[in-house]
Subunit: 309 residues, 2 copies
């Protein structure tokens, strides 16, 4: 069930809007090296940043006696096809229809440093896989991971298997409409969940940057906590939809908005049964937990998924 | 993948709000006999109706030379646990926490006509399985079935496997909130999808019974068609959520509201890309089709699932 790929070392990189962060996993799946650079602007610069990060990690792995690492996994926001085309990434850098795997392979070949596997995944798919294999959802056959960052994404494990969907695009959970008369979303719909429950939703609710609120509430500021309680109701609204749809055992909440997890995750745990309505009396309420791997789930999961290719 | 259980004959019964309809499947999985009675009021009367239907079908099977049928499957609305407890069925008859399998077994035993397997499933789960094994979603590994009746329910096949969830309660698709400021739903939430896209939603929109509208539009009444176009937008709103979540290859639309399927299913096909926003440009739009097994999917699927126990 929880098959930790353990045959070889691998490299995983999580390409976010602000940073490009990578890890080396040893053959047991443990993180043994890290490297991160800021995410630059522009497609070519981003490709170069990925290549530099991967090359740096490979050199670190060499120094650690892990030999030539052959598997590279990359997690990134947006719709990624199974053959590594990034089709659409509204929050990243406005690119569409980029054949990323192909472009990366060409760069690595030019640098005479090819990988036998270069596998690109949606960042939340990668994070979900990491949480299922060694994080807060370890071994839980029905688990939904939701990543709360600038927007909201996610991925699910259904009956012990990672859900991918027909085109690899399953889990765009932020674009469930929760208020059909609501404001327009970047995706072109109105009233998507991520307008209310993402980092941007928190900033809008608070009238100041979300990280300020979570940090203040974390150290006991009661005004900030009150804002987070209202925000927690927005989060719980969509989570209750996911309970109705997936009937999961565990909801794992990750992404920058959930860091630090407390007191926000606790507020969400309180809000969830209230918004589930009568369902809360008749069905078990899933565990609501913060991500076990913090900000590293995307890179770890990407590295592990590259070994499964 | 599409494993049609074919070792034995079986009986399937679909218990709806108005009728209790059963089928006999021969060992190849084909329907060879049918029986239906009106659904009575009250728990004991319902149990008796199921027993009478099953017994009648068993006798028909005998007459057809199929011998003693040993597997009985029942599909019914509501939350059904894997061991056959009906926990909650808001649209059926107001019962909660009924140990149905146990009660049925006792009745069959008292009548000296026991089944070795009595398996109860959510009716939409059963219908989804039937559509996947021999209907409109035959062999489609990523398929979502949505049943539009008095309310809305559903079930999905994810990566070739029937999605059940931790407690067997996955697929309560009607209780996604699409308008958080909307009217209260029977489930206790506000603005659930089924308020707008179920049979009751259609009747509310039209100001007269839904079946009148679908029948009139079917024979070319343009006023009725205009109402159905507005209703189709309500349906597409939730379907677009399901596309974002599941990324299915096919959306199969069943239940009384989708019968006859045209022109409504066609209107929904037109409305879906419009409500998907930018996603419609970047991800393939799933096929939208009416159920292939009409009103019999629930009974057929229940019979087939009983053979898998």
């Amino acid at each position: 069930m929880t098959q930790l790929p353990s045959s070889a070392a691998s490299i995983g990189i999580d390409l976010g809007g602000t940073k490009c962060a990578g890890v080396v996993l040893d053959p047991s799946g443990a993180v043994v090296a890290r490297h991160r650079v800021p995410t630059p602007n522009g497609g070519d610069a981003i490709i170069a940043a990925i290549v530099a990060t991967a090359t740096g990690l490979r050199n670190q792995a060499h120094a650690l006696g892990l030999g030539d690492i052959d598997h590279l996994g990359i997690g990134m926001p947006g719709l990624v096809t199974p053959n590594g085309n990034l089709r659409f990434a509204p929050h990243l850098f406005g690119v569409t229809e980029v054949p990323l795997t192909e472009m990366l392979r060409a760069q690595f070949d030019a640098a005479k440093s090819p990988f036998s596997v270069v596998n690109i995944e949606n960042d939340n798919t990668a994070a979900a896989w990491a949480e299922f294999t060694s994080g807060a959802g370890k071994g839980v056959d029905d688990m939904v991971y939701v990543g709360f960052g600038t927007g909201i994404g996610g991925a699910a494990v259904v009956g012990g298997k990672l859900q991918r969907g027909r085109n690899g695009f399953a889990g765009e959970l932020g674009h469930m409409v929760v208020d059909r008369n609501g404001d327009p979303c970047v995706c072109g719909r109105n009233g998507c969940w991520e307008l209310y429950a993402s980092g941007r939703g928190l900033a809008k609710l608070a009238g100041r940057p979300g990280p300020e609120i979570t940090a203040a509430a974390h150290v006991g500021d009661e005004d900030a906590a009150e804002i987070l309680r209202a925000f927690a109701r927005n989060v719980a609204l969509g989570l209750a939809d996911l309970v109705a749809i997936y009937d999961p055992e565990v909801l794992v909440l990750g992404g920058g908005v959930m860091s630090p997890p407390e007191p926000l995750v606790g507020f969400i745990r309180t809000a969830l049964p209230l918004t589930m309505g009568l369902g809360a009396f008749h069905r078990p309420i899933p565990n609501v937990v913060g991500a076990g791997l913090g900000g590293e789930g995307g890179a770890i999961g990407a590295a592990r998924l590259a070994l499964l290719i």
